[in-house]
Amino acid sequence: MNKVGFIDNPKLSAIINITIGLKKSWPRLIRLWLLIAIFISLNSAAAALADSSDKVAESVKLGRYAQSERKRTLDFNWSAWLETTIRQSTYSHKPISMRQRIWAETSIKSKGPLSAFVSGYVEGDFSVFTRYSYEKFGTAAFNEAYLTIDTSRLDFILGLQQIRWGEADSMSAADVINPIDYRDPLATARSNQRLSVVAADVRADLGFGLLDLVIVPWPRFSSLPKSGSPWEPKALRYLRQADKAGIIVTREGQKARHTQLGARFKLFRQGFDLAFIYFRGYEHAPRFSLGFDQSVMAPAATASYDTYETYALSAAVSLFNSTLRAEAAYKSNYPFQSSLISVEKRDDFQVVAGWDKNFFTNLIIQAQGFYFRYSGAEVWGVDRERYGISFNLENKFFNEALRSGVRGVYYLTSHDYCLELFNEYDFDDHLKFKIGYMLLGGKDDGDIGQYDKNDHVYAGIKYYF
């Protein structure tokens, strides 16, 4: 019997491990070294090629436009920053996270149509030592690593990348390609972290619009919180506990193999943008079905990844010095997780509409409403209608060095909410500070309400080299 549940299954972890290309069986130090070595190699190669042309005058980076003036073979630049963030629970008075992260990125542009971008990070979370948990202390990972072939009418973007579609400020119905990173699900009170996917994005400028064709040959799935993490969903925790107690077996189902496909046609016109979106792919978080495992003569909860199709329309309209944003999506055969441990496929209709406007000089107000509804028979544990609002209200002070505000999301149906007071201060171009308070609540088994003990204050420092 799997001791810690399917999420700790080494095979599945190997698939979803964000250290793409670096075998997990290798010691952590070797993976870390490889990551650093790749960065240094890329940087050195680019610098060497650039310096080989030192007989010619220094030229400034002007993209591919000023090629007559450019003398360098390659334009190369890099940046890095160090970030430390502490999130302290106001409920348990223990840290939720104490993440230290070094982030580096480099971009290389050739004289021709080729360019490349690589970003990655090395991080450690000291808070894992303060609780009983299966979480790892350190991670070394690529965030993005892709090659771009840029021609006048056709661009190819190949590799590990983020592809964000849709117009909504939060609760997007059309942003379905990149999985949510559930290890640390709330980037802010109204946005989440995403994982990059290996994809080929062919972008055609048709003159009257922009056509994107996306192929994700190897599906990537959401990284779920490890056992003991403050962000471990309650249902998953119960399942893992039942597994540990020998009451139930959790296991991985058939591996997902289908290539994910997406297409977007976007029109840009005076005053408005309009996009038609199609995506056929996976719900990136696993769904569980209850059965009986005859080999161990015990009930089995099998995790599976199911496909669905999304047909969506998104629009952004400039009106009266403000922007109206809207999305409407029809998700065919979307897999819902029922509380009876079964997967129920329903057609889900999602509408999101928002408005944002600057007032005075720097006061920004963003407001958005959302309404989701599925058809067919009721799914146990899932409200047929889910609707609510999200908002952001912020201003800048002290010559725009300080950005302060409040943002959040509230489900009118379940009364789940997340509210964040935030302050970000730029001391100079290198040193940034942030401090804030995040408040969560709602239904005990709600998407947000289940984390109601994760109310926390946070403070962070970021230094750009």
Binding site: Y65, A80, I163, F272, F359
Partner: protein, 264 residues
């Protein structure tokens, strides 16, 4: 017969008077001057790089960017601008694409590409009051420098500034709600029609800041400002913008200003 002759003579005198009066009308002459200033840059497209140095509270902030422009329609009816930021690290890769339309009938279109989120977003024009990358330039200063049709003008005389003979030209936005300034007073050099300095007044008619055009050069046959400085009236902050690598008429294509350009 004498009556008809007298009538024709009167019409002639009145016509000459009205022409002379019109030529002397400071508003008409002001707009004509503004048009001539706008015509100084008769390029179809341009590329340039800028470095902005902001001195504030004892700290120095630096921003660098590349700028690409193209006239899409004749007579500057429609212009497209692409801003690509290189420094500081936090904003590197952020790109603004702007389609501007002459006159007050059409609102400009503006998109921003945020590399950290891999996302292109349409943004609204009301952020024009905000400062440009924390500098002493407002977004509207950059946008509206040469849009003749969005202002009324008045020549208020002449004055010598730093040894240069200048017109004093006041311009006032037609749509007052779209600007944070009540008026701008410009000193315009008579020799090359470049600005020498601009004073910006807020809605209470109090001096907000002054922009000084420090150096200029004739590049590809076009008189061009290559360095300018903005001083806040209260003395708390100043910004210097150095332009370099300026080239005109390099053959940029229309599709270089489409949304397909908004990526890393």
């Amino acid at each position: 017969m004498n009556y008809i002759r007298s009538l024709l003579f009167s019409i002639l005198i009145l016509s000459i008077a009205s022409i002379v009066w019109a030529a002397d009308d400071p508003a008409i002459a002001g707009k004509k001057l503004a048009q001539q200033m706008d015509d100084v840059d008769n390029s179809v497209d341009s590329i340039s790089s800028g470095v902005m140095t902001i001195t504030r509270d004892g700290k120095i902030l630096t921003r660098s960017f590349d700028l690409f422009t193209k006239q899409i329609k004749p007579n500057k009816e429609e212009e497209r601008v692409l801003f690509v930021f290189n420094e500081p690290a936090e904003v590197k890769g952020i790109t603004y694409l702007e389609w501007t339309y002459q006159g007050t009938d059409k609102d400009d279109d503006l998109w921003v590409y945020l590399p950290s989120e891999s996302m292109t977003r349409r943004i609204s024009g009301s952020s024009m009051f905000s400062s440009f990358m924390r500098s002493d330039l407002a977004n509207e200063d950059l946008k509206n420098m040469d849009d003749v049709e969005e202002y009324t003008y008045e020549i208020q005389g002449s004055e010598t500034v730093d040894g240069k003979d200048c017109y004093i030209l006041t311009r006032t936005a037609i749509k007052q709600k779209d600007t944070q300034y009540s008026r701008q007073v410009q000193w315009v050099r008579k020799d090359n029609l470049l600005r020498e300095k601009i004073e910006y007044y807020d809605k209470k008619n109090k001096l907000l800041k002054t922009m000084y055009f420090l150096t200029c050069d004739k590049i590809d046959g076009i008189w061009t400002t290559t360095k300018l400085k903005i001083d806040k009236a209260d003395g708390t902050s100043s910004t210097v913008v150095d332009w370099s690598k300026i080239q005109y008429n390099v053959g940029l294509k229309d599709q270089d200003f489409e949304q397909s350009r908004l990526h890393r």
